[in-house]
């Protein structure tokens, strides 16, 4: 399994500002995913990020609000732009299992609070 780290682990931000979350993997992976987990809720996929191509966003999520970068096979960032209190959530990145098709491993998550 892959070891995944996220920075920051938590943050408290002011309305209208932006936060960039980093996801680092200890091995090269093809696909990285970003999920949002609102308080007390399940996980919702924001977008899928492949290296060298534009991220693919799920319905209800747009690039202007959640720009994603994927500069190489071990790293990705998610930016939450122009934040509002409704963006307060845990944001998790995950990676595919490589040889284990359709299996994903998750990072520890970033807890974001917007005041």
């Amino acid at each position: 399994s892959a070891v995944i780290s996220q920075k920051p682990s938590r943050d408290i931000c002011q309305r209208g500002t932006s936060l960039t979350i980093q996801c680092q993997v200890d091995s090269q992976v093809t696909m990285m995913f970003w999920y949002r987990q609102q308080p007390g809720q399940s996980l919702t996929l924001i977008a899928t990020a492949n290296q060298g191509s534009e991220a693919t966003y799920e319905s209800g999520f747009v690039i202007d609000k959640f720009p994603i970068s994927r500069p190489n096979l071990t790293f990705s960032t998610l930016t939450v732009s122009n934040m509002s209190p409704e963006d307060s959530s845990i944001y998790l990145c995950s990676v595919d299992g490589g040889a284990s098709i359709n299996e994903q491993f998750f990072g520890p998550g970033t807890r974001l609070t917007v005041l």
């Binding site: 919702t44 899928t48 299996e103």
Partner: protein, 118 residues
């Protein structure tokens, strides 16, 4: 639309006892994967067990086993000899199987919060 339903928002079990968490799903696909993930208060999502739909045999991982009923679209998780460390949110998840690589779009249920009483 593909959906995953967990009908038990909360469950409680006595230490050393057995508990079963329920999950049903809806799909028109014939090939897919099902998972149970555990999320402790630390937030780290941990894969507990997986089941390939084409396999009739139920998956087992130590104290964890599943009852996979494909026709009924049911995928329950049984935890035997429950331990205090099993206390967590448990999420059932589904993904269709696409040959040639993962599409990654895990669909999660709303989760079941499991408490373990000493």
């Amino acid at each position: 639309a593909q959906t995953v339903t967990q009908s038990q928002p909360e469950m409680s079990v006595q230490e050393a006892e057995t508990v079963t968490l329920s999950c049903t799903y809806d799909t028109s696909e014939s090939d897919y994967y099902l998972f149970w993930y555990k999320q402790p208060p630390s937030r780290q999502m941990i894969l507990v067990i997986r089941q390939e739909a084409y396999k009739q045999q139920n998956a087992t991982e130590n104290r964890f086993s599943v009852n996979f009923q494909k026709a009924a679209k049911s995928f329950s998780l049984k935890i035997s000899d429950s331990q205090l460390g099993d206390a967590a949110m448990y999420f059932c998840a589904y993904v269709p199987q696409y040959y040639g690589g993962s599409q990654g779009n895990l669909i999660f249920g709303k989760g079941t919060k499991l408490s373990v009483k000493p």
